[in-house]
Amino acid sequence: MATSGVKLYGGRPSPYVNRVEMALEMKSVDYELVEMNPYEKSELLIKLNPIHKKVPVLVHGDRPICESLIIVQYIDDAWTNGPSILPTDPYDRAIARFWAAFVDDKFFPLLRQMRDTKEEEAKRLVFEKVLEAFVLLEGAFITCSKGKAFFGGDTVGYLDIALGSFVGYLRVSEMMNANYKILDETKTPCLAGWAERLYSDSLVKDAMLDPHKLLESLTKLQALSKTDSD
């Protein structure tokens, strides 16, 4: 499959853009990362993604594909060399998709709510909900991994990418305030171990977001944006 003409539009701090990077790394695809400020809806962004006006957008040849998990599945379909991203078994595949949707529809909105809640007591309450959701994901890990290192088994897969892209942020949460530790080996030991392994896994380690650099980027971005338009 030709690897020329692959461009990924988006910014480094975005966990959604990061998912696509992880998938491209897994398939050893050569690509160009075109940095875009997601808060500035530039003419180019509107042209690439007229409906949502968001990053990431993958352009393969001259065709744009939007929505991070749809892009990841596209990468799996289009590049058949290299490891499979989605499980081959239909049931395992459905379960991986179910939990990836859970990350997007339930887990991340709670994380965002926690970040946006300033008042301490209210923030604490949301934090408890984040932990509850994370415990469900711990259960998902136990089911999906079947005793192996990753959600995908021996190798990273779809769900590792879907949740793994947030690991940097989970670390940032703890760095900013030790009371908000989400990756806690006492509460979710499997996920705590899993998160560590991602940073040394040969397939995705180069794409994993460094929490220190994330904290820096976040501070810069927040200064630039007037309203948060996640």
Binding site: R63, Y91, R97
Partner: protein
């Protein structure tokens, strides 16, 4: 191929209907189990503990939840006409539009019909914007899937059948022939398709259901 059960609602849910469409397309025999969501059964709580919603497909004792995930599962497991395109790019586009329908069209149009005042005005604007995108997408095509019904047509069942009925009951005009001629044409094509007709819920029953809300 293993025992297939579908935990559905009381026959009114477009989400359950999506799964019924996919099963019928593939000629799969299954046991339909009605669920009263006001009184959730132990079976539902066992097979969808996270969301406690229908539809849930139980195949060989293993449960799958979320309508579009179930539809893709059915497409992968059973032979018969393809629900998703084979080409990777076309597949990505089909998934994109199905997601768009779920996230932008259904919630906006539903709210536009059931809310009032400022919330309704806002939802109406959002609905029009969303329906315009669908209007452009269906231009020149019989179905979203091309010549045959595909994933996006299945996902858009709410737009094609439920929405016109709710609009009539609530007196809220959204999908009109004048404003969205291509989408209107698709809706009629879809609802009068012999195959689809057989599994859509009875119109009078739906009207009664919405009137009683």
């Amino acid at each position: 191929m293993g025992e297939v059960k579908l935990l559905g609602g009381l026959g009114f849910s477009p989400y359950v209907n999506r799964v019924e469409m996919a099963l019928k397309l593939k000629g799969v025999e299954y046991e339909a189990i009605a669920e009263d969501l006001k009184n959730k059964s132990p079976l539902l709580l066992q097979y969808n503990p996270v969301h406690k919603k229908v539809p849930v497909l139980i195949h060989d004792g293993k449960g799958i939840a979320e309508s579009l995930i179930i539809v893709e599962y059915i497409d992968q497991v059973w032979e018969g006409p393809s629900i998703l395109p084979k080409d990777p790019y076309q597949r990505a586009m089909a998934r994109f539009w199905a997601k768009f329908i779920d996230e932008k069209c259904i919630s906006a149009t539903w709210k536009a019909c059931w809310s009032t005042g400022e919330e309704q005005a806002k939802s109406k604007d959002e609905s029009v914007e969303a329906l315009k995108f669908l209007e452009d997408e269906i231009k020149g095509k019989k179905f979203f899937g091309g010549d045959n019904i595909g994933l996006v047509d299945i996902a858009a069942n709410f737009i094609g059948y439920w929405l016109p009925i709710i609009s009539e009951v609530k007196g809220v005009q959204l999908l009109t022939e004048e404003d969205f001629p291509n989408l209107w044409r698709w809706a009629n094509e879809y609802c009068s398709d012999n195959f689809v007709k057989e599994i859509l819920p009875n119109k009078e029953a739906l009207v009664a259901r919405f009137k009683s809300r």
